[in-house]
């Protein structure tokens, strides 16, 4: 959460809101925010910390673990039309990459804005791929693509 809070201005610049959800009651979110978050980042988290005590939201998204009674670590990128464009789920001991989530968001926005495809490992400033070449034929990416471009 602290990593998301650090990058929150970047999410806002991209026109995105971040919503974080766990099964904790609002009172625990408040305590956590006061005792832990503010110590890690000035002002703490400036986005909503949602309480999903019964796992209702987690079940809707398929990430609620009935046995452990937790929502599994996961993220969903939802576009301005309310359509899910990316999904990721990780096991509890392993943290996510907020930088990767930002990259996915930038990539989704780039495709939405330009209609050009986003190659593997794309970062802002790197080339994207038109669906068709100058003659209107489907782009034969494999004839020019080098795997090193993905890194």
């Amino acid at each position: 959460m602290a990593a998301v809070a650090v990058k929150y201005p970047a999410f806002r610049e991209l026109g995105a809101e971040t919503l974080m959800v766990s099964v904790d009651p609002v009172s625990t979110h408040k305590e956590w925010h006061e005792k832990a978050m503010k110590g890690m980042i000035a002002g703490g988290a400036r986005f909503p910390l949602i309480s999903d005590q019964e796992g209702t939201i987690g079940r809707l998204y398929g990430v609620y673990d009935d046995e452990k009674r937790i929502n599994l670590r996961s993220h969903f990128l939802i576009d301005p039309d309310g359509i899910i464009q990316a999904v990721e789920m990780l096991s509890a001991p392993v943290g996510r990459s907020v930088a990767e989530i930002l990259r996915q968001l930038r990539a989704m926005k780039e495709y939405r804005a330009t209609g050009k495809f986003i190659p593997c490992g794309w970062e802002p400033g790197k080339p994207t791929i038109p669906e068709t070449d100058d003659s209107g034929a489907p782009t034969r990416v494999w004839e020019s693509w080098k795997p090193g471009k993905a890194f």
């Binding site: 949602i50 939201i57 999904v87």
Partner: protein, 47 residues
């Protein structure tokens, strides 16, 4: 059941802690902007 890419994001209304207050968050109110919905294991957990 797991929702997939291409599905409409299931709507919800839920209580939240947001900038020092308790409020209600309605997902559909964010229509028109990108939303990153992040589930996490819990407050006061290691990761």
């Amino acid at each position: 059941m797991m929702v997939r890419v291409g599905d409409s994001a299931p709507d919800f209304l839920a209580k939240a802690f947001y900038i020092e207050t308790t409020t209600e968050i309605h997902l559909s109110r964010y229509r028109g902007q990108w939303v990153v919905l992040l589930f996490f294991v819990g407050d006061f957990t290691i990761v």
